[in-house]
């Protein structure tokens, strides 16, 4: 086997011969097939994880990894070092660094490329608050897998607000990747911004066609990783991307909590001596300033810390309702919320409204002195939930925030299937799921909701740990 030429190389030769002699296509085709199966067998025996066929157009001479390669001290095993900068040399009057012997500055970055180190990573996230919130575990995974990485985010204006809750992100820029025809100046500006930052890896959760792939290509990042359309719209995107994921449906959000499963698996893939990285749970961090701000806000509205339940998911046409794109039927009209709020005893229901125009409706249907909070940003909502006893919400970001802050919650879903997708392990997360039998959220069984709401009555004075 060692004496035979590399199979890809061989197949390329036969391929070129078929271009030259058009009459002998059948023979060379047979050759090609034979060689492909041969190479597939070989690669599968050597590299058990390289299951995906590489695009030969990208690099015809890429035969995969050399199994006999010995990695020296420069190409150390394991994860990348957190800080690759050599130490300062205190004896040098010019302030030069103390380079180890054999360290050549000119090829220092080559080691990074060979090892696949990622020093700067950009995540372009499609969707609103919910989708961005569900990307938090992936960001944490990148941070753990590539120590010392700087993670930047490009998201829509609403989605960007989520990164108030994420400590791992450096820059968050507003650029909506879902807009089909962006303003030319915005587009070129963002290409320039991303290119100037010299990213090692660009991740995109927008389903890429040729256009979005070209956008990613123009950032001139080393690894361009993106979801692609599962249909013909993906034509040509693969040529410009170094790694592609093909989802099952056109709407990625329909997969619920694990919507980025393919990308997360790829990010945490085992590499040399680094084992498979587990996906961390969703966590959000709330700054002290934000907590203080929201505390003043809910005290002003008449609620006390640890003595209220957050109700989220009032039906409006507001953009700030924080629904998932995969579950459009996830808001309830105020009359039903009023009905649910009657069942809550001992703790105060706090209605979160995404727009001031809803305030009148709430006051009409409940009472004039109902506790109403106008909150549009996920940061404030998370701080509110953090100080609450628990959450009763439809399928909005509030549910995920409650899980992230480990608060008991009651989730109202339009169907059992959606509930399983968006809250995969409900018992673990102290989440009571009430799902509608008919498949429409409005037909939800109010009795079940009221029964479930009694968990808040059991411990009316709940002092939060933090």
């Amino acid at each position: 086997m060692a004496s035979s030429p590399p199979p890809k190389y061989f197949s390329l030769l036969t391929n070129s011969s078929s271009f030259h002699s058009t009459h002998s296509t059948k023979l060379s085709c047979l050759n090609l097939l034979d060689n492909n199966s041969h190479s597939a067998k070989r690669s599968s025996s050597v590299l058990p994880h390289a299951t995906k066929k590489k695009n030969p157009w990208l690099d015809p001479f890429d035969d995969g990894e050399d199994p006999n390669m010995e990695y020296g001290s420069l190409f150390a095993d394991g994860k990348q070092e957190e800080d690759p900068r050599p130490p300062d040399n205190p004896n040098n009057p010019y302030g030069f660094l103390k380079f180890p012997p054999g360290y050549a500055v000119e090829i220092a970055s080559l080691g990074l490329k060979v090892r696949g180190d990622v020093r700067r990573c950009c995540c372009i996230i499609s969707g609103g608050v919910y989708e961005n919130l569900l990307f938090f575990p992936a960001i944490q995974l990148i941070k753990d897998r590539y120590p010392g990485v700087q993670i930047d985010v490009v998201a829509s204006a609403r989605g960007k607000q989520t990164y108030e809750l994420n400590k791992n992100v450096r820059w968050a820029n507003v650029y909506d990747p879902d807009v089909d025809f962006p303003e030319p100046e915005e587009y070129t500006d963002m290409v320039g911004v991303l290119k100037n930052r010299y990213y090692d890896m660009v991740l995109s959760t927008k389903l890429a066609g040729l256009g979005h792939a070209a956008f990613l290509f123009m950032t001139s990042a080393r690894d361009r990783v993106s979801y692609i359309y599962p249909n013909v719209n993906a034509a040509g995107a693969g040529l410009l991307l170094s790694q592609t994921f093909k989802p099952n449906t056109v709407n990625l959000s329909e997969d619920g909590y694990n919507m980025y499963q393919q990308m997360v698996e790829w990010l945490g893939r085992p590499f040399r001596s680094v084992p498979l990285h587990p996906v961390p749970p969703l966590k959000v961090s709330i700054s002290r300033k934000l907590k203080e701000f929201v505390e003043a806000k809910y005290k002003n509205a008449g609620a006390e810390k640890g003595k209220y339940v957050v109700l989220h998911g009032i039906m409006t046409d507001s953009q700030a309702s924080m629904q998932s794109r995969g579950d459009t039927d996830s808001l309830l009209p105020i009359e039903i919320w009023a009905n649910i709020a009657k069942a809550i005893r001992g703790v105060k229901p706090v209605f979160v409204i995404p727009h001031e125009k809803v305030r009148e409706d709430v006051e009409e249907n409940i009472s004039a002195d109902a506790c109403i909070l106008f909150i549009t940003t996920p940061g404030q909502l998370a701080a509110l939930i953090n100080d609450s006893v628990g959450v009763i919400a439809t399928n909005t970001a509030a549910i995920q925030l409650a899980h992230a802050r480990k608060k008991p919650s009651i989730a109202l879903f339009c169907s059992e299937e959606k509930a399983k997708r968006f809250v995969p392990d409900a018992e673990e997360k102290e989440c009571t799921i009430v799902s509608s039998k008919s498949g429409r959220l409005i037909d939800i069984d109010l009795g079940a909701v009221k029964d479930a709401a009694k968990i808040f009555n059991a411990h009316p004075i709940w002092l939060c740990p933090s």
């Binding site: 990164y163 108030e164 400590k167 791992n168 992100v169 820059w171 820029n173 961090s285 700054s287 300033k289």
Partner: protein, 183 residues
């Protein structure tokens, strides 16, 4: 001047020359110099006559302001007397030139009002107007929002790290670590 003909047709210029031979009452001719020269080019015979006459220096001799359009020559013939030739030279500006003059005058006046008015304005001498602008960075575009958010996240990261260290310290019972975390 009632009989004055301001613009003489070009074709009647030979008639003007013959009028000195057959005197009429009075003829006033005003020929723009430029028109005359055009006429010379359009007609070969005319050119001959004109060039011969001009060597005598009747019209084209006065060339002090050759492009200024109007020169009036008034020739009055009275019976039994010698010809009295009143040669009158008047400056006439045409409409466009007048307009230009007035436009310049107005613009100059406006500029003068603005300029000399503003030199006396205490606002422009005040610190509000004359102080150094900007935030001292030398840049004139302030997109600070991203920087603020970035530093807020960095602060958040430090906060969490301190909390984590504190928890670990209390969990492991290491008071010196706890103190380090509080710093």
């Amino acid at each position: 001047m009632a009989e004055a003909i301001m613009e003489f047709p070009v074709t009647t210029i030979p008639h003007f020359h013959s009028s000195s031979l057959h005197p009429a009452n009075s003829i006033t001719i005003a020929v723009p110099l430029r028109q005359r020269s055009n006429a010379q080019f359009s007609n070969g015979w005319q050119c001959q006559v004109g060039s011969r006459k001009s060597r005598r220096g009747c019209l084209s001799k006065v060339k002090a302001f050759p492009d200024w359009p109007l020169m009036a020559v008034l020739v009055q013939h009275i019976e039994g007397q010698r010809d009295v030739i009143i040669h009158k030279s008047v400056w006439h500006l045409n409409d466009e030139a007048i307009k230009n003059v007035y436009t310049f005058y107005i613009m100059f006046t406006c500029w003068g009002c603005c300029f000399f008015g503003s030199t006396k304005d205490p606002y422009y001498d005040s610190e509000v107007y004359r102080k150094d602008g900007g935030d001292g960075s030398g840049n004139w575009l302030y997109e600070k929002q991203d920087d603020i958010e970035e530093s807020a996240r960095a602060a958040l990261w430090r906060e969490e790290l301190i909390e984590e260290i504190e928890q670990k310290a209390t969990g492991a019972g290491l008071p010196e670590l706890e103190e380090a975390g509080r710093k």
